[in-house]
Symmetry: D2
Subunit: 116 residues, 4 copies
């Protein structure tokens, strides 16, 4: 499979197959999946504890990739349980964010939209 | 665009275009992106605070989709900054998880691999 | 020492002594301490992943106490670095929360103040 | 009340009075309190997003104190629900951490105990 052509749906199917092979769908209520997603995001962040980005990447590159992957995998599984199309919600949210952060106001500043 | 055929790379490009239109790449070091990803995962989880899954979905469905989308968007932008292929790391991590959780041992239990 | 009489300042001193014995004050900038506090709160939460409160307590009681203690320890060390009086900020915040959640409106409901 | 003499138990009582005045004990199961603690730790961390410690303190000092206080308040309320003595678990955990990080090995390094 050419990786350039992998669709989001292909990944959702790979993640849910992993889940269903283990009969884990029964544990996957949205609340516990949201907890798990938050825990994986923290495990990703742990790689940067006490260090700047460069040193973190130097020491923990492989684990950073793996924890980012786990965040993705839980996101894919949560989208399946919610029965929502990830492509659609991502593209819709990018449009909403674009309205919250109009280019002319947001360009080059890290301020929150409430402070623009 | 047929949503069934949206590739992960299409989403990465949409997210990085949003970022670059605002000249935000300068702020996007991996450490701060990992912080942001963790914050968005918490905002998702906040929808489930004090409630079970059913009541959370009833009251906060739209916000749940939006916060899940934000988690995805930061994941896409982090993968761009790390210059790593999301498809590859997700598929590799699913394989690694499959070895950590062999079907015959993990089926139907929510135990961690360290307890199997 | 009678535990009933332990002051918050006693605990701050115990935590900062632990830190200074190891010459760790140099790493303790507020941003990395806030990251660490968030990571410890996640480790606490991990004890409740996929389980209700009763089963979590049954299986993980000791670890729950230890992770809660780690959250406290980082809070104590952060208050030292910020040079802020924990007693004062806690009592002030309780007063502010009391204004946000007036008894007559907030009694018996889990709603956020924005929804009262 | 002389703030130097405020005990941890005084703070627990202030936090649980706030809770009981609003009849909120019914919502305070340990799992949802652990979620809330994690959410407050994230709100604290949000003050440091995209910024170094100095700029964060300059722009968000008051909010940093308030979110740290909220972390404390939830810790106090969780200790009450768990019926555990915060002084005891903090002092015990400091002793355990001291064994994990012996002074002669841990001095001046930010490494985890697994790497010492």
């Amino acid at each position: 499979m050419n990786k350039q052509n992998v669709t989001v749906n292909d990944l959702v199917q790979a993640a849910t197959k992993f889940r269903d092979d283990r009969d884990w769908r029964q544990f996957h209520n949205p609340k516990d999946l949201a907890i798990s997603l938050s825990l994986e995001a923290s495990e990703l962040l742990e790689n940067f504890q006490w260090k700047d980005s460069a040193k973190s990447m130097e020491e923990n590159e492989e684990n950073i990739y793996e924890e980012l992957a786990d965040v993705l995998i839980y996101s894919l599984m949560l989208s399946d349980v919610l029965d929502v199309d990830l492509n659609e919600i991502v593209l819709n949210k990018l449009e909403k964010n674009a309205r919250k952060y109009p280019v002319e106001k947001a360009r080059g500043t890290e301020k929150k939209y409430t402070e623009l």
